[in-house]
C-alpha cells in the first residue's frame, strides 16, 4: 500500500496520498508506547479517518529494560475507507530500542519505514535483544527505509531550559516519536498539545517537557529533510460518514457504558461484582467512577464472590453483571448454574485471553467458547453473545442485559483482549432508539395467581419478584423446584424443568435478526466467523472479491441460540470455512448442531487472525 520514493535530491516534500497506513509504536513497557499510540489514533479519528487499534503488551508491568519480553506495542490502521483490521504488516514502525526492533521487524513491510532511537542501540542493549552485532551497522535492515535518530540527544537539547531531571526528560521521548509520526502523516499537533496540558495539569513541567518533545519531533523532520515524502490519508469521504457526534472508544469502556445504558433503560441499579483479572479489569475500573449514575461496583475477594454478589444483587432487583476472563469464568461456573436454575437475570462478561490456565494473559484469543456453552454440570443452557468490534461492545452488552431481563437468564458476553483494549471511533447513539428492556415483575401479576416458577407463554420467563415485596415471599435455591417454587426431587418434574429452561433459551432465537452478511447468499465458499475475528474475515472477503474470487461472509453475534435459519445459510455453500482465534470451537458447535462439514481456519498466536493466511487458505481450497 505504501510506496516510498527515495527522492533525496528534491528539496520539497512530496505528499503521497494513501488509502490506509499501518503504524506501530514499540518500546519498553515503561516507555509510554500505549499512550503515544492512543494519541495518534485519537487525533486521526478526530481528523475524520477510520481507525482501529491493537494494544499488544506483555504480562509483566516493568520487565527488565531492553529485554525482548518487555516490549510493548501499539498498532493501528488509519484509513480513508472503512478499516476492518489493525493490519497484518506495518508501514511505519517506531522502535525505541533494539529489543523493540527485533520483536517487530518481521511485522514490517519490505520498503516500510523504521524509526529508531539510535541512542538505545548500545552494544549491551543489542546483546540483550539477541543481536550479535548492532543492526544499524550492517545490512540487515537494508530492505527498509531506516531513520535512525539519537532521540535522547535531541530531547536533551530541546528541553535544556526545562528544569526537569535527565531521567524525567528522557521519559518525554515517546512524544518526540509521536511528533515525527505526526509530521509524516500530516497530523496537526494542536489537539495533542491541548491534551498534554489537561493530562498533566498538576505537573506543569512534565507537560512542558512533553509538549517541547512533541514539537521537537516535528521540527526535526522539517529541518532535516529526512523524509522526502509525507503521507496524506484523506478523511473518509463524506458519503461514507454518517452525520452525528463521534467519540473515540475502546471495548472495555464501551462494555461498561452499555451496562450503564441498560440499567438506566431498565430503571434498575447497576451492580457489578468482580475481581481484578487481565484483560477484564478496565470494565470494573470504568464503572467504579460512576457511582452517581446508580452504579455499584464491588471488588470481591475472589472470582466466585464476584458472581455471588451479583446473583444476590440480581435477586434483590439490580441489573447485575460480573466481569472476568477465562480462568475466572471457570471459577464462576458453579455459581453461574445457580443463576440458571434460580432463573435470575445476570450478565457474565468474559474478556477472553490466551489459555489454558494462565496462558497468554495479555494476549487475545477466542478459546472460551465451549467453556461458555458447555462448561458446567448438568443441563445448563445460557445465552451466549459476542460483539464484533470495540464499539459494538456497547450494543452487545446492552443486548445481553435486555435478554437477561426479558428471559430471566444468565447471558454470557464473550469479548476478548483485542476488543477490550482496541479502540475506534463510534457514533454516539441516541439511547431512545435502543430497544426497550422489558421486565415482568410483581406489578404484572396477581398475588393470588403468583407462583415463583409460573412462566409467561411468550418468553417462558418467570416473573422477577424481589425481596421487600409484600405478600410474595418466596425462596430460591440450587435444588430443583416445581412451579410453585417448592423443592422437588420428582424426576418427572426435573425432566420438565430442564426442558423448559432449554426451550426458554431457544425462544431467544425468535428475535435474532439476520446475521451480518456480505456477498452472495449461495456459492462455493462461505466464511463464517464470530466475535472479534469479524474484521480480519471481512477484510479477507473484500480482498478476495477484488481478486475476482467469489466468497461470502456470515458473521454471528448470537452464538447460543443461533439465528433460526442459519442451517439454510450454511447449506447454500459448497465449503463453509469457520475462521476462529482458537483451534476449532465454533466448528464443533456447527457440526454438532447442523451436521455441516466445516473447514476450520484456526490461529492462536495471541493476535487477530492474519488476513493473508486466510486468503491463501481460501485460494488453496478452490
Amino acid at each position: 500500500m505504501m510506496n516510498i520514493t527515495s527522492d533525496k535530491t528534491s528539496n520539497t516534500v512530496k505528499n503521497l496520498g494513501l488509502k490506509n497506513v499501518v503504524v506501530r509504536f514499540a518500546g519498553d513497557s515503561g516507555d509510554g508506547m500505549q499512550l503515544t499510540g492512543e494519541r495518534l489514533a485519537k487525533v486521526s479519528a478526530m481528523m475524520g479517518n477510520d481507525v482501529l487499534t491493537l494494544a499488544d503488551f506483555p504480562a509483566e508491568i516493568r520487565a527488565p529494560a531492553g529485554s525482548l519480553g518487555g516490549v510493548s506495542g501499539y498498532q493501528m490502521t488509519i484509513g480513508t475507507t472503512d478499516v476492518y483490521t489493525t493490519g497484518d504488516k506495518v508501514d511505519i514502525l517506531v522502535a525505541m530500542n533494539p529489543a523493540a526492533l527485533r520483536v517487530n521487524v518481521d511485522l514490517t513491510k519490505k520498503g516500510g519505514i523504521i524509526i529508531l532511537n539510535s541512542f538505545a542501540f548500545t552494544k549491551k542493549n543489542c546483546e540483550k535483544a539477541g543481536y550479535l552485532e548492532n543492526p544499524l551497522n550492517n545490512k540487515s535492515l537494508s530492505s527498509f527505509r531506516v531513520i535512525s535518530v539519537d532521540v535522547n540527544k535531541i530531547i536533551k537539547e530541546a528541553l535544556k531550559d526545562v528544569p526537569l531531571s535527565t531521567k524525567e526528560k528522557e521519559r518525554c521521548k515517546n512524544f518526540f516519536a509521536l511528533g515525527v509520526v505526526c509530521w509524516l502523516l500530516n497530523r496537526k499537533l494542536d489537539t495533542t498539545i491541548d491534551w498534554i496540558e489537561k493530562k498533566f495539569f498538576k505537573k506543569k513541567l512534565i507537560a512542558e517537557g512533553n509538549q517541547k518533545a512533541l514539537n521537537a519531533g516535528l521540527l526535526f523532520c522539517e529541518a532535516n529533510e529526512i523524509f522526502s515524502t509525507s503521507f496524506v490519508i484523506d478523511k473518509k469521504k463524506a458519503e461514507h460518514v454518517v452525520k452525528g457526534t463521534y467519540a473515540y472508544i475502546n471495548g472495555s469502556t464501551a462494555t461498561a457504558w452499555g451496562l450503564i445504558c441498560a440499567s438506566q433503560k431498565a430503571q434498575r441499579r447497576l451492580f457489578l461484582g468482580s475481581y481484578p483479572i487481565t484483560p477484564a479489569t478496565a470494565i470494573m475500573q470504568e464503572l467504579a467512577a460512576y457511582k452517581q449514575l446508580n452504579v455499584t461496583t464491588y471488588q470481591a475477594e475472589d472470582e466466585i464472590a464476584g458472581i455471588g454478589t451479583s446473583i444476590g444483587a440480581s435477586f434483590a432487583g439490580a441489573l447485575a453483571a460480573t466481569s472476568t476472563s477465562g480462568p475466572g469464568l471457570a471459577l464462576k461456573s458453579e455459581f453461574l448454574n445457580l443463576a440458571v436454575i434460580a432463573e435470575l437475570p445476570l450478565v457474565v462478561i468474559d474478556v477472553q485471553r490466551g489459555g489454558p490456565s494462565t496462558g497468554l494473559p495479555t494476549k487475545t484469543e477466542q478459546s472460551d467458547l465451549l467453556q461458555a456453552l458447555w462448561g458446567r454440570n448438568g443441563e445448563s443452557p445460557v445465552v451466549v453473545l459476542a460483539p464484533k468490534t470495540p464499539s459494538d461492545c456497547f450494543f452487545t452488552a446492552y443486548e445481553a442485559c435486555r435478554i437477561a431481563c426479558k428471559y430471566m437468564t444468565p447471558v454470557i458476553l464473550l469479548t476478548d483482549g483485542y476488543l477490550a483494549n482496541g479502540s475506534e471511533s463510534w457514533q454516539i447513539p441516541d439511547v431512545n432508539s435502543l430497544k426497550s428492556i422489558d421486565i415482568v415483575d410483581h406489578k404484572n401479576i396477581n398475588l393470588e395467581n403468583y407462583k415463583p416458577f409460573k412462566r409467561f407463554s411468550l418468553t417462558l420467563a418467570r416473573p422477577w419478584v424481589i425481596p421487600g415485596t409484600k405478600g410474595f415471599e418466596h425462596r430460591l435455591g440450587g435444588l430443583e423446584k416445581n412451579e410453585a417454587g417448592d423443592v422437588s426431587s420428582d424426576g418427572n418434574n426435573h425432566h420438565r424443568m430442564c426442558e423448559l429452561r432449554l426451550q426458554k433459551i431457544n425462544k431467544v432465537a425468535d428475535e435474532i435478526p439476520f446475521p451480518d452478511f456480505y456477498g452472495n447468499k449461495s456459492g462455493d465458499v462461505l466464511l463464517l466467523s464470530w466475535g472479534s475475528t469479524f474484521g480480519s474475515v471481512r477484510q479477507a472477503t473484500h480482498n478476495l472479491t477484488k481478486k475476482g474470487i467469489s466468497v461470502s461472509h456470515c458473521h454471528l453475534k448470537y452464538i447460543n441460540p443461533f439465528f433460526k435459519n442459519l442451517k439454510n445459510i450454511l447449506s447454500s455453500f459448497k465449503h463453509v470455512i469457520v475462521a476462529e482465534n482458537n483451534l476449532g470451537q465454533l466448528s464443533v458447535k456447527i457440526r454438532s448442531e447442523f451436521c455441516v462439514n466445516t473447514v476450520p481456519f484456526n490461529e492462536v498466536r495471541g493476535r487477530p487472525l492474519i488476513v493473508k493466511d486466510l486468503e491463501e487458505m481460501v485460494i488453496s481450497l478452490l
Binding site: 452525520k243 438506566q264 444483587a313 435477586f315 454516539i428
Partner: protein
C-alpha cells in the same frame, strides 16, 4: 436497618413459618435453633417481606425453606457473597446468613473472613456441630483432634478452627456463642444480634444426633452444664458454677479459674462487650473446655461504620459533586467531534 424498623409490626410465630415440612432428623439440634430464630424474628419489628435468609449447603442450610420470608439456598460456602450483593442493592433488607462449620469455615472460609472484615449490616448464624452431617459423617474444620470418623478412622489430625476467634481477628463488631439446647438464652442473643448495626457472628453449638451425638453434652446437660459454661453478661462479674461459687480472674496476662471465696471480690473479672475492651475479649475467646468453662453469650458488641452505609454515603457524595450527572454527560465526556 433502623430506617425500616416499624414499631407496629406484630407477628405471631406462625406468620414467619413456611408451610414446607421440616426435614431435619428427629432430635436434631437445628429444630431448637429454628424456633429461637423464628421467635427472635417476631421481636425485631421488621416487616416479614424485608427479611432475607441466605444459606449455603449443608443440613442447616435448608433453613430458608422453612421461613415465610424471602430466602435463598445458594451454593456451598458462598452464602456471604449472595447476602452481600442483596444487602448492597437493598439496604432496607434484614439479611441473615445461615451456615455451618463445613460450609462457613472450610469451603467458605475465605468469604467468612472477608464478610466479617467488611462489617456489613448482616447477621451470621453459624451452626456448629463439629461434623459434616449431610455427607454422612466426616470430620469438619471444627472437629476435635482425635475425632474418629469415616475419613479419619484413626482420629482427626487437624487442629480445629476457633470460629469466633477468627471473627474477632477480622474485626467482627458483634460476637456471641450460644448452645442450642438453651433456647431462651439463644433467642435473647439472636434478638440482640438483630438489633446490632453491623456484622454479627453467632456461633451456635448444635448437636448432630446421628453422626456426632453428645459432643456438646457437657454444655447441654442440665445437671452439669452450669459447672462447664460461663454466661457472659455485660458489666457483670464473670462467675459460674451451680452455686455461682467460681469465677475468672486475671493473673500474669492469663485468665485463671478461682473459687470466689479464695479471692477478693474486686479481683473477679467484670465482663465488658464494648469495643475498647478488646484484650479481655480476646482472652475470653481463647478459653476452651475442659481447662476452662466454655464462655457463652456476647463476647463483643461495638459500633463501627458499616460497609453498606459507607458505600451509600460515597454514592451521595458522588451525586452531589460529580461533573458527569447523566448517561448523556458520560457519553459526551471524552474527546468528541461532530460530522455535519
Amino acid at each position: 436497618m433502623s430506617e425500616v424498623i416499624n414499631k407496629n409490626v406484630s407477628y405471631s410465630k406462625k406468620d414467619l413459618q413456611s408451610s414446607t415440612s421440616i426435614k431435619w432428623c428427629p432430635g436434631c439440634g437445628d429444630y431448637s435453633v429454628y424456633n429461637a430464630v423464628i421467635n427472635a424474628f417476631t421481636q425485631l419489628n421488621t416487616l416479614r417481606e424485608n427479611f432475607l435468609v441466605v444459606s449455603g449447603i449443608g443440613c442447616s442450610s435448608r433453613f430458608p425453606y422453612y421461613c415465610q420470608t424471602y430466602g435463598f439456598h445458594t451454593i456451598h460456602g458462598r452464602a456471604p457473597t449472595v447476602a452481600m450483593g442483596a444487602k448492597l442493592t437493598n439496604p432496607d433488607l434484614s439479611v441473615w446468613i445461615v451456615t455451618g462449620d463445613g460450609d462457613g469455615l472450610s469451603i467458605g472460609g475465605n468469604h467468612f473472613m472477608h464478610i466479617v472484615r467488611r462489617n456489613p449490616d448482616i447477621k451470621i448464624l453459624l451452626f456448629n456441630n463439629e461434623i459434616y452431617g449431610l455427607t454422612k459423617g466426616q470430620f469438619s474444620p471444627t472437629s476435635k483432634v482425635g475425632l474418629k470418623t469415616k475419613t479419619s478412622p484413626m482420629g482427626s489430625i487437624e487442629r480445629p478452627i476457633n470460629a469466633l476467634h477468627l471473627a474477632f481477628t477480622m474485626g467482627a463488631t458483634f460476637i456471641a456463642r450460644v448452645v442450642a439446647t438453651d433456647v431462651k438464652h439463644m433467642q435473647k442473643v439472636i434478638v440482640e444480634a438483630g438489633r446490632h448495626k453491623g456484622i454479627a457472628v453467632i456461633e451456635i453449638f448444635t448437636n448432630c444426633i446421628i453422626f456426632n451425638d453428645d459432643t456438646f453434652y457437657p454444655f447441654e446437660a442440665k445437671s452439669i452444664r452450669n459447672d462447664n459454661i460461663i454466661f457472659m453478661e455485660n458489666e457483670q462479674p464473670l462467675i459460674y458454677g451451680k452455686n455461682n461459687d467460681k469465677g475468672l480472674t486475671l493473673k500474669d496476662l492469663s485468665i485463671k479459674k478461682v473459687n470466689i471465696d479464695d479471692v477478693d471480690n474486686k479481683n473477679i473479672l467484670t465482663h465488658n462487650t464494648d469495643g475498647d475492651n478488646s484484650t479481655m475479649q480476646y482472652l475470653l475467646l481463647q478459653l476452651e473446655y475442659p481447662n476452662f468453662p466454655l464462655p457463652v453469650g456476647i463476647f463483643r458488641k461495638t459500633e463501627e461504620s458499616t460497609f453498606d452505609d459507607t458505600l451509600r454515603s460515597h454514592e451521595k457524595i458522588a451525586k452531589e459533586n460529580a461533573k458527569i450527572k447523566t448517561l448523556k454527560d458520560l457519553m459526551y465526556s471524552g474527546d468528541i467531534w461532530t460530522v455535519k
